[in-house]
């Protein structure tokens, strides 16, 4: 919460100064960027829902190319739960690997993922935290510089005495619009109302907003926190870097054992 507010401050200060200077402007430009050697990206998770869990494996590609999922085939995947092999994976689409069976991940269990591709093995582990559920979604309107802005608020009760990390995935029309994280460093044990800073004002009456609420472990939190710092999200820009992956051997991406609870709100 605090983090988001701080970013708001800075954004507003810049906005005010820019307005005062009459002339701040943003323009699309051409910039020559390097074409780096492709690097493997592993994006996967185990949830506590009874489902086929998915691991996506792809490679990086050039900035100028159209956005796509650049999946790679023929990777082999081993998933262990507390040291025992848990499930087999099958490739359903290029780069998309799915467990052959449906099962629920369990809180407190350590999941180890090993992905072998082109002779190299990339390993990560993640411990599924205790489950906290999303109680409700509410709306909040801010009277910021230049007008009203509406946002969704996630309401939940943080368990006292333990460090919790949360991730919020906001989707409208099936598209991920916001993917943010928070922790309970400043509000441990309290009823929390966390604003998800995705502006709802472009949505129409009757549109629905879906929020998936995950409890994630510390390393996964740090990965997404770092990702948020890179994209700036309006705050003082940090010098960007690849977020700290929990995979070994230089793979990008993250392996996330998480709990999941979802709510949908409809714009009135």
């Amino acid at each position: 919460m605090k983090r988001m507010n701080l970013k708001k401050y800075t954004r507003c200060v810049f906005a005010i100064i820019a307005v005062s200077a009459f002339s701040a402007c943003e323009k699309v430009i051409d910039l020559k960027l390097d074409e780096a050697v492709p690097v493997i990206v592993i994006d996967g998770g185990i949830s506590d829902l009874n489902e086929n869990h998915i691991i996506k494996i792809s490679k990086t590609y050039n900035f100028t190319e159209p956005n796509k999922f650049n999946g790679v085939s023929k990777a082999s995947i081993v998933l262990k739960a507390d040291g025992k092999v848990q499930a087999a994976f099958v490739e359903t689409l290029p780069g998309v690997y799915q467990t052959t069976t449906k099962f629920k991940g369990k809180s407190g269990v350590r999941y180890d993922l090993a992905v072998t591709f082109e002779g190299k093995t990339y390993e990560a582990s993640s411990v599924m935290p205790a489950r906290v559920i999303l109680d409700a979604l509410t709306f909040k309107t801010f009277n910021f510089f230049g007008g009203n802005k509406s946002y969704i608020v996630a309401n939940f009760s943080d368990p006292a005495g333990v460090a919790n990390q949360y991730r919020y995935i906001l989707r409208t029309k099936g598209v991920v619009e916001e993917d943010a994280v928070s922790e309970d460093r400043f509000n441990d044990g309290n009823k929390v109302e966390n604003v998800i800073f995705y502006e709802l004002d472009d949505l129409l009456k009757g549109d629905s907003v879906h929020v998936e609420f995950q409890c994630i472990d510390r390393n996964v939190y740090r990965y997404f926190y770092s990702l948020g710092q890179n994209s700036g999200q309006g705050g003082p820009p940090v010098s960007p870097a690849n977020p700290p992956s929990n995979f070994s051997n230089g793979a990008l991406g993250v392996f996330n054992a998480h709990t999941s609870s979802s709510r949908t709100a409809v714009i009135k």
């Binding site: 810049f14 005010i16 200077a21 002339s23 690097v39 929390v192 740090r222 820009p237």
Partner: protein, 775 residues
Amino acid sequence: MPFTIRVVLILLFTALFQYSNAQTRRTVNGNITDSKTGETLIGASVKLTGSTPAGGITNAYGFYSLNVSDGNYEISVSFIGYKTIVKKMEITKDIRLNFALEEDNQLDEVVISATKKNENVSSPQMGLQKINVREINNVPVLLGERDVLKTLQLLPGIKSAGEGNSGFYVRGGSTDQNLILLDEAPVYNASHLLGFFSTFNSDAIKDVSVYKGGMPAQYGGRLASVLDIKMNDGNRKEFTAEGGIGLISSRLKVEGPIVKDKGSFMVSARRTYMDAFFKLSSDSSINRNTLYFYDINAKANYQLDDKNTLYLSGYFGRDKLGLAKTFGFNWGNATVTLRWNHLYSNKLFSNTSLIYSNYNYVIQNFMEENNFEVNSSIKDFNLKQDFEYSLSNDHHLKFGLNVIRHTIAPGKLTADARSSVNETTYENRKGLESAVYISDEWAVNEKLNLVYGLRLSAFSLLGPGNFKTYDADGNTIQTKAYASGDFVKNYLNLEPRFSASYQLNPASSLKGAYTRNIQNIHLMSNSTSTSPTDLYIMNSNNVKPEIADQAALGYFRNFNEDKYEFSAEVYYKWMQNQIEYRSGTDLRGNGNVEADLLYGDGRAYGIELFLKKRFGKFNGWIGYTYSRTERQFDAINEGKWFYAKQDRTHDLSLVGIYKAGPRWTFSSVFVYNTGNAVTYPSGKYQLNGRTVFYYKEKNGYRTPAYHRLDVSATLEGKPGKKLQSSWSFGIYNLYNRQNAFSIDFKDDPDDKTRTQVTRTTLFGIIPSVTWNFKF
């Protein structure tokens, strides 16, 4: 460097030995002041020609002291912008000679005497840039706000930290590696409005010196530079007021005698009123916002008698930002300096300073369910004792001590019962930074001058509190509780300082310097610009003192009877215990921030060229710097050296001031620099359906080159009136260059299947007008 330390010690012993054999000498000393205002003049030159010639310049309090044998002398006293006084007299005893110099407004008609206009050539000091405060008034600036720090950035070796930013980088150092002193008090956050304006109101400033290298031993505590700013003392002769009304701020200064010719005061204040325009808006989301800053400089001095003078000076500044009734954010500095100048004998000058400095910020969130307030501060109590002793005519000693007690309150979070935020207080940290120093300026012969010295600096981290020790991966390996007054960790360092000049002929010299600097207090900032909430930490179990060794060589030359001055300096700097962060480090309210720190080395080198025309209808300068600055951290960039963010290859500044007549002055500034080293993507991928960028290496790219032309014109009112007024007109960025404030990478909002690069420009062409008055 035990070798340099040994050399310094041997020289010091030799000097003291020589002294014991020295013959009887007479001391000539006194103060040099401005005849009209009684302001003491810093750096004025006094030269005695006769049987044992001697020369020197006034210190920070306008005091000089020379030793000569009995005889007839011609005494010549001069200072740039003032008429030279020449006086003949016989010296047979110790004598006090005070001089009041008359200001010379016809700069272009100054008769350049052969006395000491070549101080820049003959002095062993190198790496020093001085700014004439009058020059600042004519240099065009953003929105017409005259600014010492922005004018400094036009000098070689000193680089702006960004568009319109008052932060600066010196010889490859970062912004927190500059020691910024205002009447000896360290200023922790020298900027307003996130860096767009400096905290230094040029009305209140008398003298600005910046040391880029070769720092004399009395300065210490930061790696890269010392910016020493002295405030005006106030007019000792009569009451005057002056001020100005500008587009975004107004200023007023009042000064006058407390007791005529004995004491004076000066109060200078300014406030911005950007938010006054918000009030004009009928939109409640605009007119309820607050955004302003103010600062007040105040100073008083009183001369008790010939041997004792007291000075009290203070600075109070604050920025306030409020967004409707939702958020509040304010920050600012307060400094107070009490000084006592005392003459123990004709040869021993002493200054004792008691200094208080406080920087704090407050963040408030008024939203009911999440309300909170954050308070954070850094507070210093500082005692300085400095002595200047004229050992003989050839040796001038400076020695003294300095003790600073730092208290850092990293954050106190308070909230009321309705809030979901828990109250938290992070442990305060206390530290004791102390130093003793000695240095000697030695005129070996007509041609060779040396300044050499030693500074012994100690740092102790003090209890109470729980102190953690971390391993290389940031895991806690030990937590230990300490009681109040316990020493948690001590560091002791010797800093040798050495500079020499060899005069090739009256107009040119070669200089060399070696300096070691230690820094015990470090600014934690992982953003690309500085923010008021950046956190200071001290040396600890984990953080070691930063160390910089700098070697520099220079060639100094004046032309055309000192009308032109030229210098070329090369430097190489080696830095140890530099600090960076692991990615994803959260600096806010982070009690364990040291777990996220990485330590490495740095190196910087460059060449700085400077050509200045000092007098005439047309004057100004050209500064050019070629430089490199790099860092190496085992855990960053695969351990390979990378360019620091302040690395810029070429940096060029042109400043021209043309006095077209008694009333019109025109001036212009052009700057060009290579873009900063920066990290841009070298690829992309998808994660959870969103585009994520891939960074191949740290700071492997450059921001686009920056250049800009500013012009300004000043029209002075008709002379002779009681109320003197002037108009300043300025245009910033005359040809509307779209310089990049930031470059962003994102999905194209109109076509989500593509990514795009956008450039944000903060300041295009901006006109300004200011009305100044004086009576």
